[in-house]
């Protein structure tokens, strides 16, 4: 994985609360056996008409959204299914971070393991972001700070080890495998 230190981008705003993983990528696209190419199915039922043509009113189909790497979403983003296809689709589309006031547990875990930053901010910061779509913001991973163009700097919580792995481009499996002697000892001690 590429190390991540800072993400600087204009935002795309989807203010809906409780955006579930069935919206992020509907189940019918889960019959794939790879991670590749899911970006085209991101938000498929909100993004395309039945005939496959883009719905012009949907935010990702508007010219201002082009090239954005940061999605600002309503409270409780990523609830529902554990499908890792959700962060894969967001990443494949081009997003590198999601900002909300709450991000569902399993989605947040899956996002961190793939280099998509789940950024949970306080309500006033979130309100400002919802009110200013397209704002140029900077997420600094080392200091765990989000800087807004109005000068506000908000901090966000991120699990220490996940941050370390993201900043150094490490895969968590390497760390877990370094514990194999402890795992074998545990199995022996607990007759497992």
């Amino acid at each position: 994985m590429e190390p991540i230190r800072q993400i600087h981008s204009q935002t795309v705003v989807m203010p809906s609360t409780n955006i579930d993983t069935d919206q992020i990528i509907p189940a019918r696209f889960l019959t794939t056996t790879t991670k590749a190419g899911l970006g085209k199915s991101l938000f498929a039922d909100w993004r395309y008409r039945e005939d496959g043509a883009p719905k012009p009113e949907f935010v990702l189909n508007q010219p201002a959204a082009a090239g954005s790497r940061i999605l600002v979403a309503g409270h409780n983003f990523g609830c529902g299914s554990s499908r890792e296809h959700a962060p894969w689709a967001l990443l494949d589309y081009g997003f590198r971070a999601v900002i909300s006031t709450a991000i569902a547990d399993i989605f947040g875990n899956n996002a961190l393991k793939n280099g998509l930053l789940p950024v949970v901010v306080d309500a006033p910061t979130h309100r400002w972001l919802l009110d200013h779509p397209g704002a140029e913001v900077t997420i600094d991973l080392e200091s765990a700070r989000l800087s807004l163009p109005n000068g506000t700097v908000a901090t966000f919580a991120i699990e220490a080890f996940a941050r370390h792995c993201l900043m150094s481009g490490l895969d968590e499996l390497g760390f877990l495998r370094s514990k194999l002697p402890e795992i074998a000892a545990y199995e022996a001690a607990h007759r497992k």
Partner: protein, 466 residues
């Protein structure tokens, strides 16, 4: 020694390495359940890294999500209609053979929905840590196991190390007093709980359902409750094991036998939360005051008693969007609304007691003209039982479609879908937009309510038919 919660006991018994400020705990996983949809990328990772599955003996695979439910497709007299699904099924067959994992394959009598077969085979046991690449893994918490859904990367971690890196979640006591009235089910109870704490109310917590209304539930009812913990945002829900649990597990194929059984039960009795154990959060519910519940919106928290009216918007933009999707308005009553489809099945309500509930309503009755009713057993074993008990005959006589087991119409990825705009009363767990098919409108309810609505063709109160 300080009083500990059941969660704390199970967690600490599985800590290979405790968490620190800088690193999460290394948590040992006793049972890894797998299926065709969330494993292909994990097997690819193993292959790319040259790794093996560390404990195939703690891993079990089944086919359920993208698997068809039509008998001719399951038993190979007709090809699986969806090519991509057929490819996933073949891949799981190849992957489990290559990595030495036991698979309950397409024609295996033990096959079924992953959260139905674990308990049914006795693989799910109290005090275990259980994971699966599926959010409804919370179901297994009904046995006093710590069970939660994971993503495909973590599926790979468990394959390679039998462990996961985890931060310790907080605990949340859901105290349910009283007793469920007649015609009000475990499904109604969990919908009421989600309505009360909200769809993100459990985020970051493991729920423990406690109190007289919970201990009065059967094992299958407890599974229905724990199953939908994730719909409140909680990764896991737990219920203390007791005599009901032990009676359910005794004699199952993978349950401990003879002296091992006695030792196991002794250990399981010690799992319940100690008196006075502190929880990080709590909520109180009175089961005696509950009614059958039904959802009216596009998440399981948008729920009301069957006799109630859709509330007014209190300034939430998404509320109007949800009602527009559903074709509903504030102030409307749910009872009497016409419906098109009824689905009885899923990991929430696809067990034998659920089918018995549906049959109690359908016996001697016919489903309304123009209504499509699909009844899908949660496993092949549930199917066999339902046929042996004569339930399948009741369903067929009523005009319902009786299928092979699988996730089916709970999620539109196996050929069973609800048409755009159609209203489906469903015993499944999610009423998200498009969950059952593009544009489909889902109304979550109990098997009783689903069957009663099938008979009248309108949302109906089952208590009038019992």
């Amino acid at each position: 020694m300080t009083a500990r919660t059941m969660f704390d006991k199970v967690w600490s018994a599985h800590e290979v390495v405790a968490e620190t400020r800088d690193t999460p705990a290394v948590l040992y996983i006793d049972l890894h359940l797998t299926h065709e949809v969330t494993t292909p990328q994990a097997f690819s990772m193993l292959r790319a890294e040259g790794l093996r599955v560390r404990r195939p003996d703690r891993t079990l695979a089944t086919l359920d999500h993208s698997t068809p439910t039509r008998t001719d497709q399951v038993f190979g007299t007709a090809p699986i209609k969806l090519d991509a699904a057929a490819k996933q099924v073949r891949q799981l067959e190849q992957n489990t053979a290559e990595f030495g994992i036991e698979l309950y394959g397409m024609r295996d009598a033990r096959r079924g929905i992953v959260h139905v077969i674990g308990p049914e085979q006795g693989a799910t046991q109290p005090g275990m840590t259980i994971v699966c690449g599926d959010s409804h893994t919370s179901t297994h918490g009904a046995f006093g196991a710590l069970a939660f859904g994971i993503g495909s990367t973590e599926v790979g971690h468990v394959f390679a190390t039998q462990c996961l890196l985890q931060r310790k979640p907080k605990t949340f006591a859901v105290n349910v007093d009283g007793r469920l009235p007649a015609g009000v089910t475990a499904k109604d109870l969990i919908l009421a709980i989600i309505g009360k704490i909200g769809v993100s109310g459990g985020t970051g917590y493991v729920l423990e359902y406690r109190g007289p209304a919970i201990t009065a539930l059967s094992m299958e009812e407890r599974m229905t409750v724990c199953n939908m913990s994730i719909e409140a945002g909680a990764r896991a829900g737990m219920i203390a094991p007791d005599e009901v649990t032990f009676a359910y597990l005794a004699g199952r194929p993978r349950s401990p036998k003879a002296k091992d059984w006695d030792d196991a039960v002794r250990a399981w009795r010690a799992l319940a939360s100690d008196p006075g154990a502190a929880f990080d959060a709590a909520v109180d519910i009175d089961a005696s005051s509950l009614e059958p519940m039904i959802t009216y919106g596009t998440n399981p928290g948008m729920v009301l008693p069957l006799g109630g009216a859709i509330p007014a918007n209190t300034g939430n933009a998404v509320f109007d969007k949800a009602l527009a999707y559903m074709g509903f308005h504030s102030g409307e009553r749910m009872l009497g609304k016409p419906i098109d489809v009824v689905f009885v099945g899923s990991c929430t309500n696809g067990r034998i007691e659920d089918l018995q509930a549906a049959a109690r309503i359908l016996r001697g009755r016919k489903i309304a003209p123009g209504v499509q009713m699909l009844i899908v057993p949660g496993s092949q074993e549930v199917k066999r039982l339902a046929e042996a008990l004569g339930l399948a005959d009741i369903f067929k006589a009523a005009g319902a479609d009786w299928r092979e087991s699988g996730c089916s119409m709970c999620l539109g990825m196996n050929g069973d879908t609800v048409a755009a705009g159609a209203y489906a009363v469903s015993t499944s767990n999610r009423n998200f937009e498009g969950r059952q098919g593009v544009g489909a409108r889902t109304l979550l309810a109990s098997p009783y309510t689903a069957a009663a609505s099938a008979v009248t063709g309108r949302i109906s109160d089952p208590r009038e038919m019992l």
